[in-house]
Symmetry: C2
Subunit: 285 residues, 2 copies
């Protein structure tokens, strides 16, 4: 019995096949070009397996409202060629098996919750800090979303008084993504995130913005874990800086778990998203 998982990103589509135990037996990465080109490669990869079901975790925004006429469509995504593309429809046209669809970050949060923490926590919030910033929140095993999926990377925060760089979001004056995502950093500082020294001042600013967001997530949903993944978080020096700044900004106002166990990296590493997709697929059959 095999399950298919697809972590559909704006840069690449990670596809994997999982066995009955939801362990990955094959995984590929396909560049995101045009919908036709990319999906043909995805379909080709899965051809040799008799899959039982597929779980898709997609970049967004994507319409997840089953009652909506555009259910399964990517909507206002900045990724050229994919605006208003019927992603779920393309899979439904190709396959008759059950398919589940959620966001890439919901899938990663779910993967961490179910397969990473295996029932040892009651809730977790997963935030990816990469090209963009997005998050998913799992509570009692449920993906929390309502009138659409969360877009918690775009929350409004306070710009640091010493920060004279622009905010790079087409939608919002002072949002987290516009100041702290990998692509914003590059646009703001004219240099890629990974090119900065470990002790560069940009990491302090970065930690300050992420800490502000984490204070807000904490006060709103009180999760058991805040899991930070994505390319920018490969800069491991960020973790202690974020925890320190979180402490300052929260001002001992509410209790949280011990910070070293509260603000953490993903247990599943880069596989959080794809394992989440496979887990969601396995629950369909």
């Amino acid at each position: 019995m095999y399950y298919g998982g697809i972590e559909a990103g704006g840069t690449k589509f990670v596809c994997a096949v999982g066995n009955e135990q939801v362990n990955i037996i094959e995984k590929v990465s396909i560049p995101t070009t045009t919908p036709t080109e990319t999906l043909n490669q995805v379909f080709h990869f899965f051809e040799k397996y008799a899959l039982k079901s597929i779980g898709i975790g997609s970049f967004g925004p994507i319409d997840l409202n089953e009652k909506s006429p555009t259910f399964g469509y990517l909507t206002t995504t900045p990724r050229k060629g994919w605006e208003n593309f019927n992603l779920l429809g393309a899979f439904k046209e190709r396959y008759t098996m059950p398919i589940s669809l959620t966001t890439d970050v919901n899938a990663a949060a779910y993967g961490e919750y179910i397969r990473g923490y295996k029932g040892s926590i009651d809730s977790c919030l997963y935030l990816t800090v990469g090209t963009g910033i997005g998050g998913g929140f799992i509570k009692h095993g449920d993906i929390v979303q309502g009138y659409g999926h969360p877009e918690m990377g775009h929350i409004l925060i306070q710009k640091h008084p010493k920060d004279h760089y622009p905010v790079c979001c087409a939608f919002h004056p002072n949002c987290l993504e516009g100041m702290a995502s990998g692509s914003s950093m590059e646009e703001r500082y004219n240099k890629k995130a990974y090119e900065f020294d470990r002790d560069s001042e940009v990491w302090e600013l970065e930690a300050h913005y992420l800490a502000q967001a984490i204070v807000n997530y904490t006060l709103i949903v009180r999760p058991d874990k805040i899991i930070l993944g994505g390319g920018v978080m490969k800069q491991e020096q960020l973790f202690p800086l974020i925890r320190e700044e979180f402490k300052v900004l929260m001002g001992d106002f509410v209790e949280t778990p011990f910070l070293e166990e509260y603000i953490v990296g993903p247990k599943l590493g880069d596989n959080a998203g794809i394992v989440g997709c496979l887990t969601l697929a396995s629950e369909l059959v």
Copy 2:
């Protein structure tokens, strides 16, 4: 069959008795003085009824972790004389019937969800804007809380560049409560909220801060309704101002319900909290 409800606030304890249909048959308001004095009046009020159960919605912060040694205690509340008071313990000592305990705003959110909207929505976020600011979030009939209850009145937001008044929170540099609660308004402007004209500029600032918070709540949990209650929200001119500002700040980024139906006052008016307490009591038996 009677149920008891107690909306325990820093200014007053509203106590009510509900019948089998959870309709209020008697309600009183008892000033919050010392724990002994206030609770004696509460106990006296309920004496003439054979209650089946009690639901308490309390001001906070309050320890709601059943595994904690201080479960049911008010913790760091600024209300003098009530710090570290074992509120639930005082009731358990007096009564043997089942007692449920949550926050006042969780109770109000629950009252609106169950008795106000009667199953017609999937989620709602209730925010009270009064002496302080606090919120509760209900999803699929569950009160969402984890490592403690939400304290969403204290989220960090951006101070308006034209706002040169102080931020009045002992814990946080730029939090919503410190700029927009009734007591902060009084401290900032040296005048009580209700003394300002309907068209005073303070309402624009107030709407701006509440809209920032509502953008963040929306992006994090995507509720079906944002319900605004509490004393400051008696200023009905705030609703259109908040909706307008929300539209500007959100920048059409994610879809929400029609704003006139999304950002609304409580269906149950001032009874949201106490009805929520009675509803929670009724579910214990």
